[in-house]
């Protein structure tokens, strides 16, 4: 016990000390303060607009969270997921003489701290935005924090630390909780279709005594309602049940036998989680515990030197179940559908659709700017020593390492452009110009990433580099818009405006590529 307390307190102290030494912490802090200020100023008018700035509004929000998030959390505990163990815990904590139940409670510590911060914020928000008396919010803050944490810790021990029921039984418990969410959704749907076909039905649903009678989750809602709105027969009875269940579950958890059988699942989770963290730190995407499966494939290598990188990537993509198509292809198709709908509706309503041809470049710029720039195979090449040993120039290595990305951009670009172009009867020249522009925008993003890797690979983390990329792209895209508007205003030709943007974008992209090729000259960054 003393060991775990020392471990968590010392880790926290060291993390804070280390963060205070990094200038980037202060930048993030400023952004955080600015963001919270922005949210705080927007929250009041937004709540008033939606008619939620009353105690009932807060109860509605808290009830929604209880109804749909709590069962999912409990289901993950039943499946022995949802607890963040790390390989260091496996190495030093699991084999140490500490009660496995204590290990579970300590691992929840971060969640308690987060709960403390959230509840503190909620107490202030409740007073300022929801017109709730300070004493009520203070009572809510203390009681909800204490009771909810006792209850949750007990459930964590009982579900995660369970050694009495088989894995199969626990899977059924998890399924039961998901069924509960499904039943709640069905009930809400029933109210929507047969009682009140509007969003007010959500309020009607969460106010319903039936919901408050659901064990634990509904009783929690009743407890919140009693504290904030005052007593009713249903909420008093359900609150008593809630408090009794919290005490009962605590006693059960305390008496339950737990020898650490969960360590095996926790160890696997820790390895998977560490793998995911490593990927995230490298700016890659990944799913927890999901191993990618591959098909059989072959490729014929044509040419040597850096070209081998391209053919190896092609082979990898051919083994991929979705080849070079990704969720981005689907997003682009959906965006195209949305644009068609916007144009058709606009025309029906008699709106001036002169600028409809600029919808596509606008959407392309939005996608290139905002959508996540997870690193793909090109970034892996930078970690592979053979990339540097291949006898070829850095620029050719960069080109062949990123060529596949340009081909993917063409495919995704076609998914965005073709349906819209057919719907609005766009000329082949404009289709081609739009496609080139899309590929250029994506290339631009790609080379911004390569360049930030070359310049700041060891200085900034993935988030910092992503911010830098977004900032650079924002400037480039803003200038492109200005160029397009000027050319269009002078010539009234869409084609010339597009050509203007294209020439500008190609120049920028080539410059970025030349700069980024430094990454491919040696493994060490600047």
């Amino acid at each position: 016990m003393g060991g775990l307390r020392y471990l968590y307190l010392t880790s926290m102290k060291n993390r804070i000390k280390r963060a205070l030494h990094k200038p980037v912490t202060y930048v993030y802090l400023l952004i955080g303060i600015f963001y919270i200020g922005f949210l705080a100023s927007a929250l009041g008018p937004m709540l008033t607009q939606w008619g939620m700035d009353t105690p009932k509004g807060l109860v509605f929000i808290l009830s929604f969270v209880c109804c749909f998030f709590t069962p999912a959390g409990l289901a993950s505990y039943a499946k022995r997921k949802g607890m963040l163990f790390r390989p260091s815990d496996v190495h030093f904590v699991f084999s140490s003489p500490v009660n496995p139940k204590t290990v579970l409670v300590y691992t929840q510590l971060k969640q308690y701290l987060m709960g403390f911060v959230l509840n503190s914020a909620l107490a202030i928000i409740g007073i300022v935005f929801f017109e709730i008396a300070p004493w009520k919010m203070a009572l809510y803050f203390v009681l909800a924090f204490v009771v909810q944490n006792i209850l949750e810790s007990s459930l964590v021990v009982l579900l995660y630390g369970n050694e009495r029921f088989s894995d199969n039984t626990m899977k059924w418990v998890a399924r039961g909780l998901y069924l509960l969410i499904a039943a709640l959704l069905l009930f809400a749907a029933y109210l929507f279709f047969f009682v009140e076909p509007s969003f007010a039905v959500l309020g009607l649903f969460l106010d319903h005594p039936f919901v408050q009678c659901i064990p634990i989750i509904g009783w929690n809602i009743a407890f919140i309602r009693l504290l904030i709105l005052g007593p009713t027969t249903v909420n008093v009875i359900c609150t008593i049940l809630y408090l009794v269940s919290a005490c009962l579950l605590f006693v059960l958890a305390k008496r339950m036998k737990c020898t650490g059988a969960y360590y095996e699942d926790a160890m696997k989770f820790a390895d998977d989680y560490q793998e995911l963290l490593n990927k995230k730190m490298q700016g890659e995407s990944g799913r927890l515990g999901k191993k990618q499966s591959f098909k059989q494939a072959s490729v014929e290598y044509k040419g040597g030197g850096a070209k081998a990188i391209f053919y190896r990537q092609l082979l990898e993509y051919k083994k991929n179940r979705t080849f070079i198509f990704s969720w981005m292809t689907l997003v682009n198709l959906a965006v195209s559908g949305f644009l068609i709908y916007a144009v058709v509706t606009g025309k029906k309503e008699g709106l001036d659709m002169t600028a409809q041809y600029f919808l596509l470049p606008g959407a392309a710029a939005y996608i290139a700017f905002l959508f996540s720039a997870y690193k793909t195979k090109w970034a892996k090449e930078l970690e592979n020593p053979y990339t540097y040993l291949i006898p070829d120039t850095p620029f050719r290595k960069l080109w062949y390492a990123t060529l596949m990305e340009h081909i993917r951009a063409v495919i995704d670009g076609l998914a965005l452009i073709l349906p819209f172009a057919i719907a609005v009867k766009m000329s082949p020249v404009l289709i081609l110009l739009n496609l080139l522009l899309y590929v250029c925008l994506l290339g631009n993003k790609l080379y911004f990433n390569v360049l930030s890797e070359a310049l700041l690979g060891d200085v900034l983390g993935a988030t910092g580099k992503s911010f830098l990329r977004m900032f650079g792209q924002m400037i480039v895209i803003s200038l492109a818009i200005i160029i397009a508007v000027i050319i269009w205003a002078l010539t009234e030709s869409y084609e010339l405006a597009f050509c203007g943007i294209l020439v500008y974008m190609i120049i920028i992209t080539v410059l970025l590529a030349i700069g980024g090729s430094f990454s491919f000259s040696k493994m060490e960054t600047l």
Binding site: L4, M12, F92, F94, S96
Partner: protein, 232 residues
């Protein structure tokens, strides 16, 4: 003493360890040998209490999963994993508190000096190389002053000086009555250390012999003699 009785471990339908039993007496060094996938690491992890298993594991006559047994048990895993935000010094301090270990400050300092960590004491876990992590892992296991200690591939990543120190440490532990179990592929590294050898293949112990039974035969000759005979 370390006792393994009818240990069986399945991963879904795969039988990783099948009815394995062996004993390493007090003050002896046992070595667990075998090819990749033989089940050595599964046995080690089962003893360390990280896996669910069938059968029994005893540490000084106590159930391995009991807190009392864990208090006198040291474990050096194959791949060390440090706490990112703890320094080298703080790792050992954590162990001292978690195990209520009786090791003194002077003894800790001597350990750090022996494994050449005395100039890295304020380095954080995520700033250490693999070899350094392995040294910290060894120091932590020794700080417990264990009665039973497990080493899973302990020499991997260590520099020659640390390997020499580790070998000497293992012999000192043996001489002080500690039970030692080493799982390894590196036959050369353990040839002067062992008292009792267990050779595993496909989840079973296919041979076990003592130093006396082996007489003057070389460890490689013994190992390949057993595994090739089994292969035939």
């Amino acid at each position: 003493m370390l006792e393994i009785q009818n240990l069986t471990k399945r991963y879904k339908k795969t039988l990783a360890v099948d009815q394995v039993s062996f004993v390493v007496p007090d003050g002896q060094v046992g070595i667990l040998l075998g090819p990749n996938g033989a089940g050595k690491s599964t046995i080690i992890k089962s003893i360390a209490g990280l896996l669910r298993y069938e059968g029994g594991i005893g540490i000084q006559g106590m159930q391995a999963k009991s807190l009392e047994a864990k208090k006198i048990f040291g474990y050096v895993p194959e791949i060390p994993a440090m706490f990112d935000a703890l320094t080298v010094r703080e790792h050992v301090e954590y162990i001292r508190r978690a195990y209520s270990a009786s090791i003194t400050d002077e003894e800790v300092a001597a350990l750090f000096e022996r494994y050449e960590l005395d100039d890295k004491l304020d380095k954080l876990g995520n700033e250490l190389s693999k070899g350094m992590m392995q040294k910290v892992s060894i120091c932590c296991a020794l700080a417990i002053k264990p009665k039973v200690i497990l080493f899973d591939e302990p020499m991997v990543g260590l520099d020659p000086k640390a390997i020499k120190e580790l070998k000497e440490t293992i012999l000192e532990l043996r001489d002080s009555g500690t039970t030692v179990l080493v799982s390894t592929h590196m036959l050369e590294m353990v040839k002067d250390l062992w008292d009792v050898m267990f050779v595993m293949d496909k989840g079973k112990i296919i041979a076990s012999l003592t130093k006396e039974e082996a007489a003057d035969r070389d460890i490689e000759e013994l190992f390949f003699g057993i595994t090739e005979r089994e292969g035939d």
